[in-house]
Amino acid sequence: MKLFLVEKPGLYTTYQDLGRIGYMKFGVPTSGALDRFALEVGNILLGNERGATGLEVTMKGPELIAQETFILAVTGGDLSPMINGNRIPLWKSVLIKKGQVLEFGKPRQGVRAYITISGGFEAEEYMGSTSVYEPAGLGRRLQARDELFGTPRERKTGTGLFYTEIPEYCRDIEVRVVKGPHHEQISADVVKAFFSSTYEVSPQSNRMGYRLRSELETNHDGDVISDAVPIGGIQLPGNGQPIILLADRQTTGGYTRVGTVIGPDLPLIAQLPPGGTIRFKEVSVEEAQEAAIQVERKLRIWSRMT
């Protein structure tokens, strides 16, 4: 049934799930929610599958008019979500009534919020995923007067994430990195300098990647034999200005990569505004796996509770 009418689309609002799996070998990026944790929790709070389709909202949120009465949640960055002008809590299931307006105000913390609805949005699926990736014609961003569909189920309001579990999205972050695969091609001094520098997020940052600025001086040849580029891969081209590659990146690349940001820390990057700063900390693959398993364990436990 019709759940929302789009009054204003916002800056860049797209359907996202947990991404398109199995097509990277054909050059199709995974896409999917940039802050996976926020989307997954949003779905868990409503009793959905963790990967049900939600809306990813960027900086300036949309204005959506409810066409039915149903339950939703807003998670991720605090972009001041409101129903009929009244602030609603983040990370909590809330009721919206037919005719009410869900809208957003000033970004207060982070830059991406996720709207999930009971039962998930019904969006066009391409290669097994609803995640929008415009360059390949896989869906498109919201436009004014779009109608959004779903089949909401009866759910409780007030199901929320315990406050100690709510992530804090800062403007100055440190993320964990597993070194490689091309670090041997970069001099040891530069790799060392890389891990002790602070970088500023450039305004040319988006779902494809975050461009960083620094004083880092490099002297290596930035080209390598092209290989696959994972989400979180940190390109360090010859000019010393790193790019962290994210969900909508090209699947392959030919520039030296000094390391990979670990999955559990990607939401921190997804929520970093232009002008924010970032530092990198080296961890072993074992530590990275342990961190990922801790997050996965929590999500599995919470899924069973709702």
């Binding site: 799996i21 097509y23 990277m24 070998k25 050059g27 014609g137 290989d227 559990p264 990275a288 796996q289």
Partner: protein
Amino acid sequence: MSMTFHPLGEAAVKVSFNEAVSPSLNKMIKAFCTNLSFKDQGIIEWVPAYDSVTVYYDPWVYTYQQLTELLKKKALETEQQQSNSKTIVTVPTLYGGEYGPDLTTLAKSKKMNTNDVISLHTNGDYLVNMIGFLPGFPYLSGLDEQIAMPRLKEPRQTVPRGSVGIAGSQTGIYPLESPGGWNLIGRTPLRLYDLEKENPFLLEQGDYLHFRSISEEEYKRIEDEIEKGTYKPERREETL
């Protein structure tokens, strides 16, 4: 076979084959990937490249150590299972004119006539080393050095889908309309990426391509058949 492993974060590993890029390495990589496709809950997907394969996996199922042991075992099995045939896909191409606006310039700079360029381009078989950059875009090797040509100084804002181009010593085909700086010598009506199809991709790593020069009349006919869904791309198997 000698391999090196590099972890890419907690959920991917790059398997590098310590060997120069060659058709035989490409064949081995293809066989290695085929061997990964047996149902295994822990292995999510993989991306073959020139001299490596990146395997995406679930750290909930495999530790890095366990996964690399498993991949070593699979590589040993692979050495006994390589196929001895190759698939050659014919790419009908209309050269020159509005379809290949840079053909004349390229021919002039090489002091050839356009037919020489076309015959050199249609002469060999090109190997798909890997797919990347754009959905369905093949990284091809096998271009005759006599028609290698640096990229355009000013990239075009839009290059039509199906355009066949040359950049440096590479030739390629644009699967989508996109900006680009390749020298455009022709265009194929074939679709390398077609969302209407159940399998949207014409090519995969390890395939060979053969360009065939066609007339504008044949171009229109094939385009029409593709539109109607009746066209079958020409593929043949050849024993190595």
